[in-house]
């Protein structure tokens, strides 16, 4: 448990790791609760209410997340921006990455959003229940061929990923034989195909299930899909996998051995509940002392919008998200996004454009607006625009130097002395938004 200061800076970091960053003055408010109070508030949220303007597309029409391309991404982004339960929403994002399902394979925004609701429902609950619901979730059944897996033609796809990616880790505690036996236990799910609506009528059909005896992890029995899930969650290698993976979403450096073991014990003693483990991670000193974590692109995007209290009023966030390396509902493959490599020269440019789109409606007009001909004041003003994010000395110096030199260019002409400060203000807001301090928190 972190015993150091819990001030606005720590509260701000907590809000970035456990949500989508603070709204104006939210960090200060949270800091007043103290660390214990703040973590309790995040992990035991009251009923959700959505704060801020309702989302719409660029023509003012309501979103059509089930039907219109890209509206699924902005629909969820809106939840991230407006939610009063940021940790639940962040956990939903984590489960989307953990059980990474892509609409490229599913082909139905409705099924993807149903799955999204499932993740939200289980955000902080029992991992065992989550795994059970994911296993019979229609989007997942399509994505990993769960409903193609039948007694007569077994398909190992889900069985393998269930152990490799969802519960145990590659080559940890299971054999190729276990994969085949798990696949048999998981048989029985089916769906039909309709000419008009595609996959329909997802069901469990005992006729398709292989009722024979299976041997899984040295246990023998007439196992069904529910046994499959139970055997994975109660496998001795599961808690260590779970803890390490969950930790990595919140803290960039792996936990030390003692912490790892303590979290495993906590997870087991709580009967596979997510909430206590997340709470312990959020209280851990490594979150406050350790290095910053690069924000996932959607977190970056939602955070900028929250910071200036702007709601969803364009669907551009979808392609901008894709440009920055993260289009929701389209993870690159079943292993999810690579959360250690968000930034490269291409995705950084995507973030520049996200920041530009966040700012564009507020860009000041050099012909009309007034800004002081003073580098220091311009920089203060730009920092205030973003509600004073903590900028390091180097960044502050680089921004001040920029403003100072740009104003110097204006010396010779009076129109420049009027217009350049306004442009410098616009530019400073853009530069702050893409500064390292706003990319990682």
């Amino acid at each position: 448990m972190w015993r150091g200061t819990f001030g606005a800076a720590q509260a701000e970091r907590l809000l970035w790791r456990a949500g989508f960053g603070p709204r104006p003055r939210e960090a200060q408010k949270l800091a007043r609760l103290g660390l214990e109070g703040a973590v309790h508030k995040l992990t035991h949220p009251a009923r959700e209410h959505l704060v801020g303007p309702r989302p719409h597309d660029e023509n003012g029409r309501p979103l059509a997340p089930f039907d219109a391309w890209g509206h699924d991404h902005v629909w969820w982004l809106d939840r991230m921006v407006r939610t009063s339960r940021p940790l639940v929403e962040r956990m939903t994002l984590i489960w989307h990455d953990w059980f990474a399902t892509s609409n490229n394979g599913v082909g139905s925004q409705r099924l993807m959003l149903n799955q999204n609701q499932l993740f939200r429902r289980h955000g902080l609950g029992s991992f065992h229940d989550l795994l059970l619901d994911v296993t019979e979730d229609p989007a997942m059944l399509l994505w990993l061929n769960g409903s193609d897996n039948s007694k007569d033609s077994p398909n190992e796809n889900y069985a393998r990923e269930m152990m490799e990616l969802f519960t145990l880790g590659a080559d940890r505690g299971y054999t190729e034989g276990d994969v085949r036996q798990q696949a048999r236990a998981l048989t029985g799910f089916r769906n039909s195909w309709s000419q008009n609506s595609g996959p329909v009528n997802f069901r469990y059909d005992p006729q398709s299930h292989d009722p024979g005896v299976k041997t899984i992890f040295h246990h023998r029995g007439r196992f069904t899909w529910k046994d499959s899930c139970r055997l994975c969650v109660t496998h001795p290698d599961h808690p260590s996998f779970f803890v390490r993976k969950l930790w990595s979403y919140f803290i960039p450096e792996a936990p030390d051995h003692a912490t790892q073991r303590a979290l495993e014990r906590l997870y087991k003693s709580s009967k596979y509940e997510v909430r206590p483990v997340v709470a312990a991670i959020l209280r851990h000193p490594a979150l406050y002392k350790g290095p910053r974590l690069v924000k996932p692109p959607v977190v970056y995007n939602a955070g900028l919008l929250r910071r200036i209290r702007r709601g969803i009023d364009t669907t551009a966030w979808t392609w901008l998200g894709s440009m920055a390396g993260q289009q929701l509902f389209y993870p690159p493959n079943v292993a999810g996004w690579d959360d250690t490599r968000w930034l490269d020269t291409a995705t950084w440019r995507g973030r520049w454009w996200i920041a530009q789109y966040v700012l564009d409606r507020q860009a000041l007009d050099p012909d009309r607006a007034y800004q002081p001909y003073d580098a220091g004041k311009l920089l203060d003003h730009a920092c205030r625009f973003w509600h004073n994010p903590p900028l390091g000395r180097d960044t502050h110096h680089a921004l001040h130097t920029f403003a100072h030199r740009a104003l110097g260019d204006a010396k010779g002409a009076s129109w420049k002395r009027e217009q350049y400060p306004v442009m410098v203000q616009n530019a400073l807001r853009q530069l702050i938004a893409v500064s390292p301090e706003l990319q990682a928190a």
């Binding site: 796809n157 490799e164 290095p291 493959n333 079943v334 020269t345 950084w348 920029f402 530069l431 390292p436």
Partner: protein, 457 residues
């Protein structure tokens, strides 16, 4: 009931998957989830995922590298000896070799292709059964100048007919599902620099998997004129100063997260400055007129020639050709459009390189993941096949056909697909040894088992 199977859907999904991955910057894709396992290869998903080195593969890479090392690396690489350059052009979807070079002199051709058979055109000089597709005037012209080597039936035995799998084989340079680096990526890993991401460059929205490395950084840009930054109501001198500030923020701070963000910003700044001469507002001015098109391909080649002329340290470059080659239906129109723009653009590129005195340094390889079924289907189209046609273009090629056209009587496999008379891995081995001057065995698995055709004169 199983999912309805649709070849073209498979292609678009494979394409989307590649796209998504390179955006995430996490290396070569795993086999596409939800796709049937390729029959007969013994592939399982496990091999892809379990052996995945996603975290270790630097697709773009270099985020751990400091600004100074990077700047010096680019400069040092640019001032070093001029390296030979390979440009890989991918005809995505499986181009129909029997239309690219149509075997009008083969008695079975018209029987297999009652609707689609081409008639007339220019005979191919090295095999009088074959005729150039009428859209390939550009390549044919270069061929007549001995600047094109034709591979009339290139592929591999037991060709896989999944776009995804076969493309993967070509990209990794082996019929191995488990390889996670591209064949050019592995070459760059041997000879490349840790601080020069331009050595492997995708001129595309995403990184070409053939360039995926495990050690050295490589880059992907949509086009040299597509790396712009804009901020509303900031222009002129102020804009310039703003852009120059990108790389200066958070310079070498102690925090690892900030350091990553700062390093990438510095790389962005570096790349942006390098590409300034090629931004469209500055115009890519060159000695040659490229075809006008909405497709970015000709402009990408024009930009490539300009980058080479500017001395940027490029080494392996990958592009996707314009056009739709997965011609299950209405093949004639789609194929003609794609081939025409590709061929005209390659001709312009070759002329551009010649005018700039760079032609002897550049070799272009044109390939597709497979050819198409000899017999047409009922939709004025053709289904997935085996061997296809490939080309090598440049002043240094031999201009002599590699392999032969096997004929439609005896040259088809049990599925009615053209059998390969040259192996893509042998072509790669020759390129590595004869063009790059490295031991192919160090780059290609089982390199010793492939015959190396003579490709470089």
């Amino acid at each position: 009931m199983t999912r309805p199977c649709n070849h073209c859907d498979g292609l678009s999904r494979s394409r989307l998957l590649h796209r998504a991955l390179a955006e995430a910057g996490s290396g070569l894709p795993a086999i596409e989830p939800g796709m049937p396992l390729p029959a007969g290869t013994g592939l399982t998903r496990r091999h892809f995922l379990a052996k995945s080195v996603g975290a270790a593969v630097a697709v773009y890479g270099g985020s751990l590298l400091g600004l100074r090392a990077f700047e010096e690396g680019i400069a040092a690489a640019a001032s070093g000896p001029a390296a030979p350059i390979l440009v890989s052009i991918f005809l995505e979807g499986g181009a129909d070799g029997l239309s690219v070079l149509s075997p009008q002199g083969d008695p079975l051709y018209k029987k297999l292709r009652p609707q689609l058979a081409l008639a007339g055109g220019t005979q191919f000089a090295e095999d009088n059964r074959l005729y150039w597709h009428p859209a390939l005037g550009g390549l044919q012209q270069l061929y007549s100048e001995k600047k094109v080597t034709v591979l009339p039936a290139v592929g591999y035995t037991h060709a896989d007919q999944s776009h995804f799998t076969s493309r993967h084989y070509w990209e990794v340079g082996a019929t191995a599902a488990t390889l996670r680096t591209g064949w050019l990526g592995r070459y760059l890993d041997r000879v490349g620099k840790k601080d020069n991401p331009l050595q492997g460059l995708s001129l595309d929205d995403t990184l070409a998997p053939a360039l995926a490395t495990s050690k050295v950084p490589v880059a992907s840009i949509s086009g040299p004129d597509q790396y712009d930054f804009y901020s509303k109501r900031v222009w002129g001198e102020v804009e310039q100063r703003m852009l120059e500030t990108i790389g200066l923020m958070g310079h070498q701070p102690a925090d690892a997260g900030l350091r990553t963000a700062g390093n990438v910003a510095a790389q962005v700044d570096r790349l942006r400055r390098q590409l300034i001469p090629f931004q469209s507002s500055n115009g890519i001015s060159g000695p040659v007129q490229y075809p006008q098109s909405n497709d970015p391909f000709p402009q990408r080649l024009a930009g490539l020639a300009a980058m080479l002329a500017a001395g940027l340290p490029l080494h392996c470059v990958a592009l996707t050709a314009p056009g739709e080659y997965d011609t299950h239906a209405d093949e004639p129109t789609a194929l003609t459009q794609g081939l025409q723009l590709t061929s005209d653009s390659v001709l312009a590129f070759q002329r551009d390189l010649e005018a700039r005195g760079l032609a002897d340094r550049v070799l272009v390889h044109i390939w597709s993941e497979f050819g198409r079924r000899a017999a047409e289907n009922g939709d004025s189209g053709t289904d997935h096949g085996a061997a296809g046609v490939g080309f090598l273009v440049g002043t240094r090629v031999t201009g002599k056909m590699v392999g032969e056209f096997p004929g439609l009587q005896k040259g088809l496999d049990g599925d009615g697909n053209v059998s390969a008379t040259s192996d893509f891995r042998g072509v790669y081995a020759s390129l590595l040894e004869q063009w790059f001057g490295v031991d192919a065995a160090a780059v290609l698995p089982k390199a010793a088992s492939f015959t190396r055709p003579k490709l470089v004169a």
